[in-house]
């Protein structure tokens, strides 16, 4: 009986203490007609040795491509220490820190995380995580609508350059609460949201404006002008950011003259492996006055009976287990272990290390773009600088090119035709590429060589 410690004697003794004849008797309150379950379609149990072999075989099927895809999930070097400590039993197998005195490890770590995340965004406060970047955006919208007491409209302007995977989740989650999400069109030449696009909403009742910077195309938005416009028009500003960029790019707290009101995003680049999409974690930070509208857990520092400092969950009156139907969100379990990894990750690489990662990712992407745009049939789609992702336009269908690159062991980028944002999907000859600090010059050259060969073969075939 894997994972069950009972000996026959134990079971017998326990049943007799209970006064039951058999384990089955313990289920006698369940209506008899429910108690006949056929599990024959489930395979028989495997030993650890057997499952180990199976999983190794399955993993081998997936292979290991050289990754040049970004689009919301990024390959970064993760120090070996990060997951070795994160998976220590005391972190890995603990529950939510409801008994604070027996959870000071997790609680202090989360307090440190809140500090780091708030500072990275240059915002006042952070919560202890949401599910992922997409749900963080959805929660940010709901939070902004609650927090903007001046607005009645529940209307939120969303830059069309937002990560489209986030955008669809915002739909799923905000749909039932009368929220209206209005997409702003970007400028076709520059790939950023023109401040003019806002003009038509001047004076209208807008609860919030949401801007991603660097945006999905890797381009820098006019964050100062947009932020000031929003505040002038009594709208809150929701910033969506990649934490890596925040080491070297103006953080949300410094956007415009007053800074963004809420800043959120996905923490994956801070120590979470790409893992086919999860688990990652969503972060959300905000200005102090609206902290009581924040969803999710928050840890506070306090003192014990002896006046000694300690940490505990706080502001729980916002949460579902206290406030129930009036909670700021239904979230309960969050992504604690990923935050544990991120906190250790940030501690190990530090502010300079994170800046170096950002700089090298930027430089590698520039180098890659330079190499690729030398090839006949490849050009940059938008004018202007980018962070660590750039949109390229090919003279051939992107899907087929990516398939050929994959045969050569290269995950070549994200085909914008696959974007769930219909406007973005119109960029159907376009490819979003990303080269992080994990890539060597040889890797970049190998990609360019493969691209050259694929394009010339396709050309010949055509």
């Amino acid at each position: 009986m894997p994972f069950i410690p009972h000996t026959e004697q134990d079971t017998t003794a326990m049943l007799s203490a209970i006064g039951a004849d058999s384990i089955n008797d313990l289920f006698d309150e369940i209506p008899a007609k429910l108690r006949d379950v056929d599990l024959s379609a489930i395979p028989a149990g495997l030993t650890e040795q057997e499952i180990s072999r199976l999983m190794h075989e399955r993993a081998a099927q997936d292979g290991q491509l050289q990754c040049f895809i970004g689009a919301g999930a990024y390959e970064h070097h993760i120090p070996a220490a990060v997951w070795e400590i994160t998976t220590r039993g005391e972190f890995y197998s603990a529950y939510t820190p409801y008994q604070a005195e027996a959870s000071q490890g997790t609680l202090q770590l989360l307090y440190e995380y809140q500090t780091m995340m708030a500072s990275l965004n240059d915002m006042d406060v952070s919560n202890a995580s949401l599910y992922d970047g997409a749900t963080a955006c959805a929660e940010a919208v709901l939070m902004a609508v609650r927090a903007n007491r001046k607005s009645k409209s529940k209307k939120v302007l969303v830059a069309g350059t937002l990560n489209p995977h986030y955008r669809v989740v915002m739909d799923t989650i905000t749909r039932h609460q009368g929220i209206e999400l209005v997409d702003l069109q970007w400028d076709d030449a520059s790939g950023i949201t023109p401040v003019d696009a806002l003009a038509e909403y001047a004076g209208a009742d807008i609860a919030a404006v949401m801007i991603q910077n660097p945006n999905f195309f890797g381009r820098f938005e006019e964050i100062d002008a947009m932020t000031d416009w929003a505040h002038d028009n009594k709208a809150l500003v929701i910033a969506v950011c990649n934490p890596t960029s925040l080491a070297i790019i103006t953080p949300p707290g410094q956007w415009g003259s007053a800074g963004a009101d809420i800043a959120c995003g996905d923490g994956q680049p801070l120590g979470a492996p790409m893992s086919s999409g999860g688990p990652y974690f969503g972060f959300i930070t905000c200005k102090q006055p609206i902290v009581r509208q924040m969803p999710g857990r928050i840890i506070g520092r306090t003192v014990d009976m002896d006046g000694k400092p300690g940490y505990a969950l706080t502001l729980q009156a916002r949460e579902q287990h206290i406030r129930r139907s009036k909670a700021t969100s239904n979230i309960c379990t969050n992504q604690g272990l990923l935050v544990t990894a991120a906190t250790i990750h940030m501690s190990i690489i530090g502010p300079d290390g994170l800046a170096a990662v950002a700089e090298h990712s930027h430089a590698n992407t520039q180098k890659l773009v330079a190499l690729l745009t030398e090839i006949d049939g490849v050009k940059a789609r938008f004018e202007g600088p980018t962070f660590h992702e750039t949109v390229l336009e090919l003279n051939q269908p992107v899907g087929a090119v990516l398939a050929r690159l994959a045969d050569a062991g290269i995950a070549g980028g994200f085909a914008l035709a696959r974007s769930p944002n219909a406007e973005q999907a119109k960029l159907d000859d376009c490819l979003l590429v990303c080269a992080t600090e994990t890539k060597t010059t040889a890797d970049l050259e190998a990609y360019a060589a493969a691209m050259k060969s694929v394009l010339s073969q396709q050309q010949r075939a055509a």
């Binding site: 999983m55 080491a247 999860g278 544990t340 600090e437």
Partner: protein, 494 residues
């Protein structure tokens, strides 16, 4: 012992400008073509420490936690059972970790096959017709479930249904979720046997009823005996039934929500399927549905076509409630659940429910013999049960909090306290199937010893815990004098 009992400075207090784990990141370099105006001028408050300092700090912090790997953790409703280490090791194989979520399906047949097989196993064991793995925790599974119920009614043009019924014993996520899905919540009382008050329920249902959210066994630790009647009643009025699967461990392989008549169910894979709780998460709230909700399942789903696996998209599933996460949900958690499910196998599933139930009933019987009051003394325990200290608290003044804190001193994590809200001074005790009789006996003895202390030395009890890194913390101060971020100017731990 000292190792962890000293006050641990914050990581920031180890920070010195210019210090760094130099092996871990490249040297700084030029910022290329990023205009100066877009660049950050200040340095964020990330710690500047050596690799050893970080390793030592977080290793020591970890030692301040209770966890399954170190303590018995009978936290009701949370199913703190052993998280097999192989699940972690195998889910972290480099090919799994290194795969980008937008890589093509051809280079993901391994991971997709695991997810597909997991969908199938969960279907069988819950008796549902379809399973979607997208939701990232129980509460998100609830959201997906209620959104499907709403989509179902909407698709039929049945838009007058505005109300969701929720028993008063329900977990807070249930009403919170119903509201997020645009419903009004109507609470249904519990009868004195812990079942839903059937008469009250009958009175509450009507054409406005979109559905009911139940967990069975309920958070009161008892099996809802009238479940088939409830199911008929709700269906008769056109409502649907939602099953909160947080307590699935109690019935795994013994009976199935699908057979009870539920239309949608979420599972907490981080409970029943033993993925670790990680000090707060991540979890996974996979959802299972009945025939009528199949079209509405969240995406992506893993489809199998010609022995190949692929992710279903909006095109495949036009009626889907949509996506719950940017990509494919908490894949790493799903892999752990899959590995665990395969190790259990069909024989193992039912043993989970059997021994979890045996353990709960055993502690319940022993505590009752020792003079503790049970919330529902005439009922079987499911995988958990409730002790109420109402009488004791009157007699001796000892509260549930006192018991909880004193248990920590004795090396046991406290059961869930003050939940469900309707039972006064309650402890919800869930031992799980992976604990051995002698550890249960140790816990029972600890409870008895604390009772003795409550009767003999209440001040001693009130001062607990004594052996943790901190003594009882001031929660009120935490909320009033909000200190939720370290500030350099605050200096040494205040």
């Amino acid at each position: 012992m000292t190792i962890a009992s000293n006050e641990t400075p914050l990581i920031f207090e180890h920070s010195r400008a210019g210090r760094r784990a130099f092996a871990q990141a490249p040297e700084r370099s030029a910022v290329g073509n990023i205009p100066a105006g877009l660049r950050r001028k200040d340095k964020p408050t990330l710690p500047e420490v050596s690799e050893l300092q970080a390793v030592r700090h977080y290793t020591r912090l970890s030692q301040k936690n209770f966890s399954i790997d170190t303590q018995f953790y009978p936290l009701g409703s949370c199913t703190m059972k052993y998280n097999p280490r192989a699940c972690n090791t195998l889910a972290m194989l480099p090919q799994f970790l290194g795969r980008h979520p937008l890589a093509n399906d051809a280079h993901g047949q391994g991971v997709l096959s695991c997810l597909h097989d997991l969908q199938d196993i969960l279907k069988e064991v819950t008796g549902m017709k379809g399973v979607a793995l997208a939701p990232m925790a129980g509460a998100q599974g609830e959201f997906a479930g209620m959104a499907m119920i709403r989509a179902y009614h909407d698709a039929r043009g049945d838009t007058a249904r505005t109300e969701v019924l929720v028993p008063d014993a329900a977990h807070g996520t249930n009403p919170a979720t119903a509201v997020m899905c645009g419903y009004k919540v109507r609470e249904i009382p519990t009868d004195d046997q812990g079942d839903v008050d059937f008469e009250a329920l009958k009175a509450a249902v009507g054409p406005q009823t979109a559905g009911i959210m139940l967990t069975n066994p309920s958070t009161l630790g008892v099996f809802e005996r009238k479940i088939l009647e409830i199911s008929s009643l709700i269906h008769e009025v056109g409502g649907l039934l939602y099953y909160d699967g947080a307590n699935l461990n109690a019935i795994l392989g013994k009976c199935r929500p699908g057979d009870m008549g539920f239309d949608v169910i979420h599972m907490n894979l981080h409970k029943t399927f033993s993925t670790p709780h990680g000090g707060g998460g991540p979890g996974s709230g996979a959802v299972g549905v009945s025939e009528r909700l199949l079209p509405f399942m969240p995406i992506p789903l893993v489809l199998k076509e010609d022995e190949k696996f692929r992710l279903a998209t909006e095109k495949d599933r036009p009626q889907s409630i949509g996506r719950m996460s940017a990509f494919t949900g908490n894949v790493g958690v799903l892999l752990r659940a899959y590995i665990y499910a395969r190790m259990l196998g069909k024989e193992g599933m039912v043993r989970v429910a059997e021994y979890a139930t045996l353990n709960a009933n055993y502690i319940m019987a022993e505590l009752e013999k020792a003079g503790f009051d049970l919330a529902f003394p005439e009922r079987r325990a499911s995988h958990e049960f409730i002790v109420t200290l109402k009488r004791q608290s009157k007699e001796s003044g000892a509260t549930v909090t006192d018991f909880a804190k004193r248990l920590l001193d004795k090396g046991y994590h406290a059961p869930t306290t003050y939940f469900p809200l309707l039972v006064p001074e309650c402890l919800l005790i869930e031992p799980t199937e992976t604990e051995a009789k002698e550890d249960l006996d140790g816990f029972i003895q600890a409870m008895k010893d604390i009772q003795v202390e409550a009767d003999s030395d209440i001040d001693q009890l009130r001062g607990a815990p004594y052996t943790m890194p901190v003594r009882r913390l001031d929660d009120v101060r935490a909320a009033r004098q909000l200190d939720i971020k370290w500030l350099p100017e605050k200096g040494e731990a205040a």
